[in-house]
Symmetry: C2
Subunit: 146 residues, 2 copies
């Protein structure tokens, strides 16, 4: 089973809303994670993706990427979202795809702080696109602790 | 049927995720709307409320209050969330309760702009509490247009 498949199982097992949303972990190449979800269960009254579903997909994309990086480092830690902001730039009227990549230098500083203090914060950006244009920009600050 | 009950029906009919989350419109007094949701369908791996569910409840609380104020004014308009930020202050390990009230002066300016230009923005704050302390603070900017 690939790390992406393991992550998808974890999300579905531990977060009922991830299952209700039909979230899939599409790909992970060691740096970039792509999560997707079908429009149907996440639709709103305007036949576009519900803003709450777009947020939930984005927050889980950042969470998932950090979870994978910690697993690779052999660290099993709590990951908590502390703050986020989100801009809705375009309506999304098809299946949703979220992407998050990690800056290796920022990740290195984060891991060093975590090893030293048992607690560290990392900011992650997630984009949900529509025809190669950003439709949603999400920025989340995650806290990891022992 | 009370306005709160009508709003709950609208949310469940038009947004499948509101139904999956079990959202209830608890009360509305003409100024303050309270939406609630049970913990079970919205739980995470730490047995507290999933951050995406807390956000979705908050964004719908602001949306619902604006929807009710527009209905009272006889206006049937599109309401779109444009930007939001959210702070997670405390974990929520019980059923979630979100509250949003509207500042009458800001609402008056918003309604005047909407009448004049056919489009207006309103910022709304939503708080999800835990034992009378704020656990989540949400701030959303909503756009209404014809």
């Amino acid at each position: 089973m690939t790390p992406a498949q393991q992550l998808e199982q974890t999300l579905h097992r531990e977060i009922p809303m991830a299952q209700a949303m039909g979230i899939r972990a599409e790909s992970y190449d060691g740096n970039r994670l792509c999560l997707a979800a079908p429009l149907a269960p996440n639709i709103n009254h305007k036949c576009t993706a519900f803003g709450g579903s777009l947020y939930a997909l984005a927050v889980l994309c950042g969470w998932g990427l950090l979870h994978l990086k910690l697993e690779e480092a052999g660290l099993h830690r709590h990951i908590v979202i502390q703050h986020a902001d989100i801009d809705y730039l375009l309506p999304v009227a098809e299946d949703m795809q979220a992407e998050c990549s990690v800056d290796e230098a920022a990740l290195g500083r984060f891991m060093a702080t975590l090893q030293k203090h048992g607690r560290a914060r990392l900011a992650l950006e997630v984009v949900i696109g529509r025809n190669n244009q950003p439709a949603v920009r999400f920025s989340g600050r995650y806290v990891v602790h022992n």
